[in-house]
């Protein structure tokens, strides 16, 4: 048997061959220059003036202060990016990452409802049942990878374009990597069935599924068969996840753990996009403290992501694209509970190596002293009263172009209609 055939057969059989060097999925899904996209969701609608649109406690034109917990003069600056000084880690974060960061301020979110806001931020459409960008991208670029889109919460609707993957207890992972071993952690373990038997079973399953799928005319059932078929193709490569996770141990908890699993999966050629999330931003009460806690955790999570990407055995920092956003922003004024309520203006952060085609160290857009969005010239992105409001639809329209997926058949099912376009490169 030719080795190529053997690898293919092993892959079909769910037998790990990652040690061969080139994961099967990489053979099936070229695109070594495709970026890995990670969408980081601040769940609940973040208090964006505590991140990169700080105002401080100066009394504004409507006689109130947007922020009570820091002075305008204490606002931090890293390159061309301003940040609120309330989260101690923010200085380290922006000092480190500002060269690769684009801040988009004053986004007209067009909604102040959670579900619609999340959908709009992470898909660019207000319309129900729109897949998130991560799913569309994974489907277009690497739809055959066994875990092409990893979800850790946030807006993760896939619309059946790809199957989302959630990674649970890593202690149980060995049993999934080596399902035929009686003792999964022992490479000399007795097996339930011979490898040849497993290959034979997988071939029979594949042949049977193809017959059933060809005969099936109801789209829902046909699609279900197709997804099951696809999910089996790369089962054997899951071993790569375990292999690269070892480099990143200890995995930690929360977003750090999410980040490390995502990077190991990217490195193993199993996944192409992912979400990370941190809740706690819906601060209708005691907003300053609640936001500070949640933002600290969020920034440290993103930091963990970049550090994992930069690990010498992962080495994917140059191929990572990180989008950090939230449902919307929060009101300029405090309520009676010292909280802040929903506000249809927000912000988004993009982070990637500028060599990928997106300039860093810049801030686009802005808000007034009462947190109303300011318009920009769509060509220059300079603030301009005669310009246009930046909307998520415009950002995502550009995402699709930038990622070269706008002509994908699934992407075209969810068109973004915008009167104006912007270029974020």
């Amino acid at each position: 048997m030719e080795r190529r055939d053997f690898i293919k057969m092993c892959s079909v059989a769910g037998l790990g061959v990652v040690s061969s060097g080139v994961p099967m999925s990489k053979l099936a899904n070229a695109g070594d220059k495709d970026l890995f996209w990670v969408f980081v969701s601040a769940g609940g609608g973040w208090e964006h003036t505590h991140l990169c649109d700080p105002k401080g406690d100066t009394i504004n034109s409507e006689d109130y202060a947007v922020n009570l917990d820091f002075a305008e003069g204490d606002i931090g600056v890293a390159g061309n990016i301003e940040y609120a000084p309330v989260v101690p880690f923010s200085k380290e974060f922006f000092d480190t990452y500002h060269p690769m960061t684009t801040v988009i301020r004053g986004i007209d979110c067009e909604t102040n409802g959670h579900d619609t806001g999340q959908r709009n931020t992470f898909s660019g459409r207000l319309t129900e049942n729109t897949p998130c960008f991560g799913a569309l991208y994974a489907g277009a670029v690497a739809g055959k990878l066994p875990m092409t889109f990893i979800t850790n919460g946030g807006y993760s609707y896939t619309g059946g374009v790809v199957a989302p993957t959630r990674i649970g207890n890593t202690a149980a992972l060995q049993a999934l990597i080596y399902p035929n071993r009686v003792t999964p952690n022992n490479e000399d373990s007795e097996k339930y069935l011979s490898d040849k038997s497993m290959i034979r079973i997988r071939e029979a399953l594949t042949a049977r599924t193809e017959v059933m799928r060809d005969d099936q005319k109801l789209p829902r059932i046909n699609n279900a068969m197709d997804l099951l078929y696809t999910s089996r193709l790369g089962m054997g490569e899951i071993a790569g996840l375990d292999e690269y996770l070892k480099y990143l141990e200890p995995l930690g908890n929360g977003m750090e753990r999410q980040a490390k699993i995502i990077l190991a999966s990217f490195k193993a050629g199993l996944s192409q996009s992912a979400t990370m999330s941190r809740g706690g931003f819906d601060t209708h009460g005691n907003s300053d403290q609640g936001t500070t806690n949640a933002l600290d955790s969020l920034l440290r999570g993103v930091d963990a992501l970049w550090k994992a990407a930069a690990h010498k055995d992962i080495d994917l920092a140059d191929r990572l694209m990180v989008v950090i956003g939230s449902d919307f922003g929060r009101t300029p004024t405090y309520n009676a509970a010292m909280g802040k309520d929903h506000w249809s203006v927000g912000q988004m952060l993009l982070q990637t190596n500028p060599s990928n085609g997106i300039k860093g160290n810049r801030t686009i857009g802005g808000t007034t002293d009462t947190l109303k969005y300011r318009k920009v010239n769509p060509n220059t992105l300079e603030l301009s009263d005669s310009g246009v409001a930046i909307r998520n639809s415009m950002i995502h329209k550009w995402f699709r172009k930038f990622a070269k997926i706008e002509d994908d058949k699934n992407v075209k099912l969810y068109p973004i209609a915008t009167e104006n376009e912007i270029d974020l490169s």
Binding site: L126, P164, T165, S197, A337, S344
Partner: protein, 791 residues
């Protein structure tokens, strides 16, 4: 002069779902014309309105004629597609409107064409296509002979499950078991009529109520507090949170518990499960489902009764069951079914600025079939509002808040963390507490939940919501929303898909109401509908494919459903080494999930709330691990059973004699075929396809041959490996080391259901002919298959 003519239009009762069950895919119906006035006789006015006129009404009327629009004070108030039953509501409104005429012409046509004053101006030109469509609608609305939407015709070309296959699927999903031989026999003789009878019986089994609770927990998320409920219970007039800390130790022996920690744990479960148990109780007792909102009681166990101080007021059947639920009433408390469930509103809490809006939103979603936030999918610009009270005065905000805030106000007595107060207050600047056109009096706040519960229960949308919830539970899919992108080239097909489902669900909801809210009827109707039973179709065009997009379930079983199916089919469960289920919670401690439960797309009601319904690579691995381990466990165990108790490998009759499949080898040692044995093996394969996958094949079927080849090739390889001598040098061996003994984990040493060891003769530890492992390969194959993992 404007006059009102006598209206003769009414929506015909839609009771065709049963017909679909009986007929399968049949017939062609009457076709719609383009606004013409002929063919009115057999045509559904609703269908005509939905397919032709709704687009015009949505684009040209609803912008002003909505509850908050400029025309809000007229009699022509329409509902948008976000609201359950919007088509029926709107056609009723229009039917009423067309009765008003001037000079023999309906105002419905005169106003938008500017023939009489219309504050919205001229929207439709006389003689235009839109005008003709509305004329067609008016004609149909005035015609007495209009008929119900032709649901059957919508599914023409769709192939349905047989009565037998329907029964199997329903039994596995509703009762977590396979049908008995007697039940199959009844269906063979009585068809769908018997399926309905057996469904009634299945829905008396406790497994059905377990499923029902899972469905509603997916909505309520109250299992969040399976661990820690009592810690959240605040001190108050009806709350004794830590009663167990000072409890009489005799309680431990009475309920068979080991420690105070057990008392706490079971109390937590009792408190957390209260609303789910109330729903199960209402259905179990055969009461109208509206009682889930109107019940003047709550559900307690002997332990949670102590949490509420009513332990002396409740009678339990068992003196020793700590988790027996019974009705209980608190004194001077306005019980309103689940609307006064403490744990429900603790999970769904509120804040001083949220003011029960989230709770109201969920009430809309759970009990009125409407995701109110869908009305917020149109763009709004909050910053453009300079109004002091935008939620009351800004149309952008009012569109949701006019719906949400009144119901929120009726929950005024429910405080932020779910506590109840006898002295509620509310916010005068908000829309006043109420429901629909009714306002709750300020003195009624204390009993606001009772007030609103009674009104929701009577609302037509309550029935639709119940249908939606059951559909979600059975299929894992969301009910369709009417498409609104008219530029989409597939708009018509998508709308048709929506309409097919809307008509089907409406028909079920109507029957539900007629039955005095018998929830089991909803389940039966859904099971008999094409959404449950469709299995294939004839060749379809792209547009037909879109229209049929939601037909047929293609439902990946949830982890718990798969757990039950494994047990139902194999007679034994997939368990971890410590005896806990791999795909379901530990029955002794519901907070401990199976080790693969989340991997396989399950939820924990804590931080993982949405199920994954499409398989990924890891889930495929879970399925494979399950298949290979269960084959290892089930095949030897079945062979070790007494002949008459085998599920998988019954004796086969060959040439007038019974043979044990364990003794059947397809060839002699010399490689000559043994025809009799080959026939026997194929008969067993036919049996396994039917038993494991629900497929009925003859021995000549290609799938039987495929499975047979898998058996034979595995058997040949195994025997070759058994005979193979491993090379002593570095030469690559042709076969893995293979023993005549079964792997340790696969040996049948004891009865799997009783754990009583077999005597030595009854044990199965060896497989020197490789027959057992060949059947293990076959079973692994089947347990990994689409038809096992999906329903």
């Amino acid at each position: 002069m404007i006059v009102r003519t006598t209206l003769r239009f009414r929506l015909a009762a839609l009771t065709l779902v049963g017909s679909i069950a009986m007929l399968g895919a049949v017939a062609s119906g009457c076709s719609s014309d383009e606004g013409g006035l002929d063919k009115v006789g057999c045509e559904s006015t609703k269908q005509y309105f939905a397919e032709n006129a709704w687009r015009i009404v949505e684009q040209k009327c609803i912008g002003c004629h909505n509850p908050q629009g400029q025309a809000r004070d007229t009699n022509y108030i329409l509902k948008g597609p976000a609201e359950a039953g919007f088509l029926d509501h709107n056609i009723d409104v229009i039917a009423d409107l067309v009765a008003f005429e001037k000079d023999g012409k309906p105002l419905f046509l005169l106003k938008p064409t500017g023939q009489i004053e219309h504050k919205g101006g001229v929207l439709i030109e006389q003689g235009s296509e839109d005008y003709k469509t509305l004329v067609g609608l008016v004609t149909r609305l005035k015609d007495e002979s209009t008929c119900a939407p032709n649901i059957v015709n919508s599914f023409t070309g769709v192939e349905m499950l047989s009565p037998r296959a329907t029964l199997r699927k329903a039994a596995l999903m509703l009762a977590s078991r396979a049908p008995s031989a007697a039940e199959y026999q009844r269906v063979e003789e009585g068809g769908f009529s018997e399926v309905e009878s057996i469904l009634d019986e299945l829905m008396t089994e406790e497994a059905f109520y377990t499923q029902l609770k899972v469905m509603y927990n997916d909505l309520f998320g109250t299992d969040f507090y399976l661990d820690g409920a009592s810690d959240q219970l605040m001190d108050g007039p009806y709350a004794y949170p830590m009663w167990y800390e000072t409890a009489d130790k005799s309680l431990l022996s009475q309920y068979g518990l080991a420690s105070t920690g057990d008392l706490e744990r079971f109390t937590d479960v009792s408190l957390a499960r209260e609303p789910l148990e109330l729903i199960a109780h209402v259905v179990r007792e055969g009461r109208p489902f509206t009682e889930i909102l109107t019940a003047d009681y709550m559900m307690v166990t002997p332990l949670s009764a102590r949490s509420f101080g009513v332990q002396d007021e409740v009678t339990f059947k068992s003196a020793s069951d700590p988790l027996e639920f019974a009705e209980a009433r608190l004194p001077d408390f306005p019980h309103s079914g689940v609307l006064t469930s403490w744990v429900l509103w603790t999970v769904h809490n509120t804040t001083p600025t949220n003011r029960n809006r989230h709770r109201s939103r969920m009430i809309w979603y759970w009990f009125l079939g409407t995701d109110i936030l869908r009305t917020a999918t149109q763009p709004i610009d909050q910053t453009a509002s300079n109004l002091i009270n935008p939620t009351r005065d800004d149309p952008n905000c009012v569109v949701c808040h006019a719906q949400i805030d009144p119901i929120g106000g009726t929950l005024a007595a429910i405080l932020e963390d779910g506590e109840w107060t006898a002295e509620p207050t509310w916010y005068p600047e908000m829309f006043p507490p109420g429901f629909g056109n009714e306002t709750l009096s300020s003195t009624g706040l204390k009993t606001g939940t009772t007030w609103v519960a009674a009104r929701i229960a009577k609302d037509d949308r309550f029935a639709l919501a119940a249908v939606y919830n059951m559909y979600r539970g059975l299929s894992g899919q969301e009910p369709l929303v009417a498409p609104s992108d008219y530029e989409d080239e597939m708009y018509q097909a998508k709308f048709k898909s929506f309409l097919m489902q809307a008509n089907t669900f409406r028909a079920i909801a109507d029957k539900f109401i007629e039955s005095d809210y018998d929830l089991k009827l909803v389940v039966k109707e859904l099971v008999l509908s094409p959404y449950f039973r469709a299995k294939n179709a004839v060749d379809v065009t792209d547009a037909q494919a879109v229209a049929l997009g939601e037909v047929g379930m293609g439902h990946l079983l949830t982890p718990v459903q798969l757990h039950h199916k494994i047990k139902a089919v194999l007679g034994t469960s997939w368990l971890a080494a410590d005896g806990r289920p791999n795909l379901a919670a530990d029955p002794r401690d519901l907070t401990r999930l199976g080790q693969f439960q989340l991997y396989y797309g399950g939820v924990n009601s804590v931080d993982v709330l949405k199920r994954i319904t499409d398989p990924n690579g890891l889930m495929a691995s879970v399925a494979q691990r399950m298949a290979v381990q269960m084959a290892c466990k089930a095949v030897p165990a079945d062979f070790a059973r007494d002949d008459d108790k085998r599920k998988l490998f019954p004796l086969v009759e060959l040439g007038g004699e019974e043979h044990d499949p364990l003794a059947l080898e397809p060839e002699t040692e010399g490689g000559l075929p043994i025809a009799l044995a080959q026939d026997g093996i194929k008969e067993i394969i036919v049996h396994l396809h039917q038993h494991v996958l629900g497929e009925i094949y003859t021995v000549e079927h290609p799938e039987v041959e495929r499975t047979y080849q898998l058996f034979v090739e595995t058997w040949k390889e195994g025997n070759a490996a058994l005979a193979y001598e491993q090379p002593e040098d570095d030469e690559e061996p042709e076969y893995e080391p293979t023993s005549a003994d079964l792997p340790n984990n696969c040996r049948a040493l004891a009865d799997p259901s009783t754990s009583i060891p077999y005597d030595e003769d009854g044990q199965l530890v060896s497989d020197d002919k490789y027959v057992v492992r060949s059947w293990m390969a076959v079973l692994t194959y089947m347990l990994s298959d689409y038809r096992f993992l999906y329903e």
